[in-house]
Symmetry: C2
Subunit: 246 residues, 2 copies
Amino acid sequence: MQNSKDTKVFKIDYDRPTSQQLFDLLRDEIVAMVLPPGEKLSENSLSDRFGVSRTPVREAIAKLVTLGFVEVRPQRGTFVSKLSMTQILEARFIREALEVAITEHVAGHAPPELVAECEVIIDRQHEAAEQQDALLFQHLDDEFHQKLADCTHFERAAGLIQSEKAHMDRVRNLSLQELGGQYERVLEQHRAILEGIKAAKPDICREAMRTHTREILTILSKVQSMHPDYFEQHSADSEVTPQFTG
Amino acid sequence: MQNSKDTKVFKIDYDRPTSQQLFDLLRDEIVAMVLPPGEKLSENSLSDRFGVSRTPVREAIAKLVTLGFVEVRPQRGTFVSKLSMTQILEARFIREALEVAITEHVAGHAPPELVAECEVIIDRQHEAAEQQDALLFQHLDDEFHQKLADCTHFERAAGLIQSEKAHMDRVRNLSLQELGGQYERVLEQHRAILEGIKAAKPDICREAMRTHTREILTILSKVQSMHPDYFEQHSADSEVTPQFTG
DNA sequence: TGTTAAATACTTGTATACTAGATCCGAAAA
DNA sequence: TTTTCGGATCTAGTATACAAGTATTTAACA
């Protein structure tokens, strides 16, 4: 184990179920690439690390499996899923479908305050772009989309978007600096979506959102060539043993 | 307990994990309304019924919770989720978003054999309609949509559609006989979608699929008035469900 | 009879023990 | 040196035991 170096020791509080806290922690660490793709996640090791029994660990892992972040090979081990081009493209597809549907829906039912709130976000994104603050910029991007989703009151749809987006965030977090030239383009996409909403034109929204959700495609192959070891080998013959940097 | 009357005793085979078998069984029974909304699902009772320990039962229940079929109230009990108008409308919304995206995608990339296979399904649906076989008709409807989804090779999207549709199937299974007058209308919708695919016109597909996925709305309020006890009472102090959608 | 309080029988959450199978590593054999 | 075999040690899956909180029932009291 390399706990003391790569991972922090977290306190478990007793207000929320342990398994839920573990789920949140592990998901965040996976998305943030603290737990890199292919990393072994032994249930026993996790139990030791968090000072809990295997039961809540298993429940957290089960949820991560259903979301595709973790892979369990019976009697062999549990591993952080490697990045898969297929999976990422599908996550993008699902996200586009839901985001498009949401923005079309919002275009017809936008409360006045929504537009104002989105404009504030866009302004703040402009500032973040000027200061080259990629992390803040991405956070505000999330906020923008969350605002639209909230407007529909479809909580589950918003949750699905979040979990699909998380797969893409793993890629994004590998290339935050690559975002450089894209600030203005992304900002313009947000503005276009908002214009469609203000004009109550679902067609405009749809096309603008499509363009926006396809932005990830511009960096995908570059990231893959930069970090081939994080990606699944889809030749199926050569299985790379999980790396231990002990 | 009313086991001997309403529920069958299932054999657990030892090829697949017990928890997964339990998940499938319970989900099917919930969708089929064998386990009606509001039914108490004691972990101990389920353990006894299936002759297994609580551990796999809990894992199955955890999955059902993430899909919204089951509600766990800590230290109080586990219950089959009541039908919720909000939840059903949202499931329909998500399904429409994904089905529309899929059919638009297929309209551009349809392999020749797909059209032929879909036409066979439509023919069989025509026969099922003539024989008033609602169950078969609905099964063929599933098959039609599955064919389109398979064509995209987006397995997760297909899975999401399935699980969202399951919420609507609970409603459908309460009013199978109500389907009577809808056979021809639904058939015509399938034909319209297929025409759009054959013509490689995503716009046609989109509108046809939208119409199709909104069919459920025609029976929704009727079902609610027929079975008010199966629906959630959405009084003002509606409690936020603690499930985390991830 | 009506009300309150203690006792009992539930519930889920967590910890631990055990099982069967997979992997790894070293020793023995060719 | 290479190959094979066997045991030690991993793994996840399952069963059981315990803890803590809730609901219901019962009993005592007014």
